[in-house]
Each structure stands twice: as C-alpha cells, then as structure tokens.
C-alpha cells in the first residue's frame, strides 16, 4: 500500500518508543524484578506515550498537514454518510457556478470585450453625414478617397455590407457565406494579423480582376477547408465569380461589428462586378445615379461606413480638417430635400467619433444582461445561504456527538 512519508515516520517513532520501553523492562528484569511489575514501572517512568509521540512529532513541523488531512478525511466520511445532502450541495454549487460563469461570459463577450487588436481604444467609427433617406452614416466612394487623401497619416478604413453569397467548390455541395466588402487598408489599419497566408494590401483594390482575392474567417476556413493553412490558395466561386483565398484572419478576429461575423472579407472593388447586393442610399429620383455602373466614381451613391484609428488627442484637429474636405459632399446631400431647415440641419453636422463597442447590440443587451448577471449571482448567493442554514440545522442535530468529540 502506498504510504505518506509522515505516516512512515510516525510508525518509526512508535517503534522507537516501543524499543525504549522494551530495553527499560529488560534492564529491570535483569536486576531481578518481576516482568509484569517491571513493565508497569517502566511505563510509569516513560509517561504518557501517545502524548510524547505527539509532542515529538510537533518537532517535525508537519503536524498542521496531519491535522488538515485528518479533518479532510473526517469531512469526507460525513459526506458519505449523507449522500442526499451531498448530492444536493454539490449540484447546487455546481449549477450556481456554471450559470454564473455562463452569464458572465455572455456579458463579457457582448459588453466588456474589446476588439482583439492592439490599442482598440484608438479605433472609432467616423460619422460625417447621415444619408438622406436611410439616415445611415454612409458616404460615397469619392468622398472616402477625398477624406483619406486629406489625412494620409491617419488610417481610414471603409467597409460595406454585402448580402449572403453562395460559395461553390468543385465536387462539393454549395454553401452560403456572409460577406463584407472592405478597403485595402482594412486589416493593416485595424492591426489584425493573419493566421495563415496574407491579408489585403492596396494592390487588392484594383477593379477588373480575373480572380478576386478573399480573406477568410478562421473558423469558417477550418470548417470549409480543414484548416487555416489548407485554405490558403484554394480557388472557389462566389456568386459565380472566381476567387482565391489569399489568407485567413487571426483566430480571435471576428469582424469589427459585434454580433455579426463575416465568413469572407473581399475588396470594395468587387462592387463593380454587380454580383453582390450592397445596400445603398442616394439623393432620390431625378438625380444622376446609375446603379448598374460601378459606384467608385459616383459621388451620389452612399454605401461606405468609415472606421479610423486616431489617437484621442488628435481627433479634434483631424475632424476639423475632414469637415472642410467634406463640405461639398454635405451640400450635395442637401439636394435631396427642398425643406430649408432640413438643409440647414444637414450642413450643421460635424464629424464625430463613436466607439466601436457602441452599437445596437451592446445598447440593446446591456440592461438585460446586467440584470441577468445580478439575478444569477443573487440566486447563487441565496442558494449558498440556504446550504449554510441546512448545515446549521444538521449541526444542531449532532450537538451531543460534537460535544463528546470536542471533549475527547
């Protein structure tokens, strides 16, 4: 049987004391004493053996461990004697911890988490003007280029939604993939590293490509192609257009919008193919809008959302500059309405920065999730209190046994 080293030492000690006793008895017998009397006398001289052993053991400095083990063993014995109670307590505590952990993870993911990129606090959604009809914070491609050219040292990224597309591979069933159009500086501006292959560069922005580059989300790449490494260089069709996967984004990067993680990122220039449905807004009927032509040179189609990485202390200066550059676009937008007060309101809009975390999802779920967290925490607390009370009640029933134990 496997034994603890101090148990071994304890045996050694009792053997040592036993041998002392035997020698003392033997000496007395040699002097002519009766064996039984000799033993009694030796025992008297020796004193309280267990106590001597105890005091000696204390010299080893392990007594506390011995006590703890004894207590633990006693506690386990008690638990085994009341299986129903043990099961109740274990289940209550386990469920309580589990539920609280789960709710906390949800809370953490929805409200507290930051983008998994370096210095996420520098990133902000840039609002320069509301589109006339949808009231969404979207701008045209020429306006985006102008803003970017005005402040070349500020990474300004543009993104656009695209509707779910159909992905086809030879000899495989087609699957649907959610897509997002992003500017060439999207990944470098956010600071996302590739898990495999490479991410977009400025060269990927050119129009009319025979085979379009695509960056895949990590889990999508793994589920579709086996692994991130295997996905790189794969060819596939997306809404009938030829694509090659040039890289896979970092495992933790799920997109810059909480609650919507695109499977595939592709260049903004893909809009010109017309193969992907992109939501847009414009000035309404009577204006020169050709939806069937590419949008990159049309200043009256508003379809891009802006995200920038700017240090908070530089924001005021950069925004003032952008307001100047964007003035013509705001004036263009006023053509959508005849109401002078609406026109004036549109012209008064100033560029603002909104934290990435401040989106509809966080706003919608902060209160219910906080409530849920508080609720589950208090339920756990109440459960623990009940368990404590239960223990107290059981203790009362064992008062006599315990008083005897204490006395011993």
């Amino acid at each position: 049987m496997m034994r603890w080293p101090w148990e071994q030492a304890k045996d050694n000690l009792s053997e040592e004391l036993e041998s002392h006793l035997k020698m003392a008895v033997a000496d007395r017998v040699a002097e002519g004493a009766d064996p039984a009397e000799a033993r009694a006398a030796a025992l008297r001289e020796l004193g309280n053996l267990p106590l001597i052993a105890d005091v000696t053991r204390e010299r080893w400095g392990w007594m506390w461990l011995d006590h703890v083990l004894h207590d633990a063993r006693y506690a386990l014995r008690q638990l085994r004697r009341a299986p129903a109670l043990t099961a109740t307590v274990l289940l209550t505590v386990a469920f309580g911890i589990g539920v609280n952990l789960g709710v906390y993870q949800l809370l953490n993911a929805v409200i507290l988490a930051q983008l998994p990129v370096p210095h996420p606090e520098e990133l902000a959604r840039i609002h320069v003007a509301r589109s006339p009809f949808d009231q969404s914070w979207q701008v045209s491609y020429p306006a985006y280029l102008r803003l970017q050219a005005a402040t070349p040292d500020v990474p300004l990224m543009a993104t656009a939604y695209a509707q779910t597309a159909t992905l086809e591979r030879p000899d495989r069933a087609s699957i649907s993939a959610s897509c997002r159009l992003v500017s060439g500086n999207y990944f470098s501006g956010l600071g996302v590293a590739p898990a495999a292959g490479r991410l977009f560069g400025v060269a990927d922005e050119r129009t009319r490509q025979d085979e379009w580059p695509a960056v895949l989300r990590y889990d999508f790449a793994r589920n579709t192609f086996g692994s991130a490494q295997q996905a790189v260089g794969r060819h596939f069709l997306l809404n009938g257009r030829a694509f090659v996967a040039i890289g896979v984004a970092n495992r933790r990067f799920l997109g810059d919008i909480l609650g919507s993680s695109p499977d595939i990122w592709m260049p903004l220039a893909l809009q010109s193919t017309g193969a992907f449905a992109v939501p847009w807004d414009s000035l309404g009927p009577g204006h020169d809008v050709s939806l069937n032509k590419p949008w990159y040179n049309q200043p009256t189609i508003f379809w891009l959302e802006l995200t920038a990485r700017i240090l908070p202390q530089h924001r005021a200066g950069v925004f003032a500059h952008w307001d100047q550059v964007f003035r013509n676009d705001r004036e263009l937008m006023t053509e959508a309405t005849a109401d002078p007060s609406v026109k004036a309101a549109l012209l008064r809009v100033k560029t603002t920065a909104v934290p990435l975390s401040e989106n509809g999802m966080a706003k919608r779920f902060t209160a219910p999730l906080t409530l849920l967290m508080a609720l589950s925490a208090s339920i756990f607390l109440v459960g623990c209190l009940n368990l404590a009370n239960l223990q107290l009640a059981r203790l009362h029933g064992r008062a006599q046994e315990l008083s005897i134990r204490m006395a011993l």
Partner: protein, 118 residues
C-alpha cells in the same frame, strides 16, 4: 485529560542544556535514546534524570537541525533500536554550547560566592 503543557514546559526549561547533554553523550559513540538517558543519569551520579517526554522531542529536533543523524540498528540483545550519531555541525554546536555554559556557570558562581573571587 492529559496536559501537553507539562511536557512542553519541561522542554523549554531544558532547551539548550538538554541539547548540550545529549550531544556530549553522543560525542564518544552513536547511541539509542534509552542509552542516552542512562548515560546522562549515570554520569551525573544519578542526579539528572532525563524524562522520555523531553528526550525524544529533543532528539527529533536535533535531527531536524542536522546536529545528529539516525539509523536503525540491532542492539547487543538483538533488539531493533534507532541509533543517533553526532554530525560535524552538531560537534560545532556542542563547542559553542559548552562555552556558553561555562560562561553561565562562572557568572552565576561570581554572583553566589562573591568572597571567593580574588
């Protein structure tokens, strides 16, 4: 109910002195606990009796401080016993304990018999 303080107090009372006596007894040869007690008793002219309750805690403490080391052996009467042997560290300790003891005896002597001093 037994009182552990009875033994604890005695150890504290004898601490240092008992250590010195044990180390001195082990100077000549390794011995088991019973022999150490006997040796101290006979060499002190039956004046000093070392209680078992003090001896074994002291021996185990000395061993923990590495002043003695122990080993199980058979006695002449074929009885298994734990033999203690003084270490180099223990010998050094004995020298310093002895000197301290001599200083103490001289000091107490000077206080108790001032006229004997020159």
């Amino acid at each position: 109910m037994a009182d552990p303080d009875k033994y604890q107090n005695r150890i504290e009372l004898l601490q240092g002195t008992l250590d010195m006596l044990i180390l001195q007894a082990l100077q000549r040869q390794p011995m088991h606990g019973y022999a150490i007690a006997q040796s101290i008793r006979s060499r002190s002219g039956e004046v000093l009796t070392v209680e078992t309750g003090s001896l074994y805690p002291a021996l185990h403490r000395l061993e923990r401080q590495k002043w003695v080391k122990s080993e199980w052996k058979l006695t002449e009467s074929k009885q298994r016993a734990k033999y203690y042997q003084i270490t180099a560290l223990g010998k050094r300790q004995l020298v310093s304990d002895h000197q301290r003891w001599l200083r103490l005896v001289r000091a107490i002597g000077a206080v108790m018999e001032p006229e004997a001093q020159p």
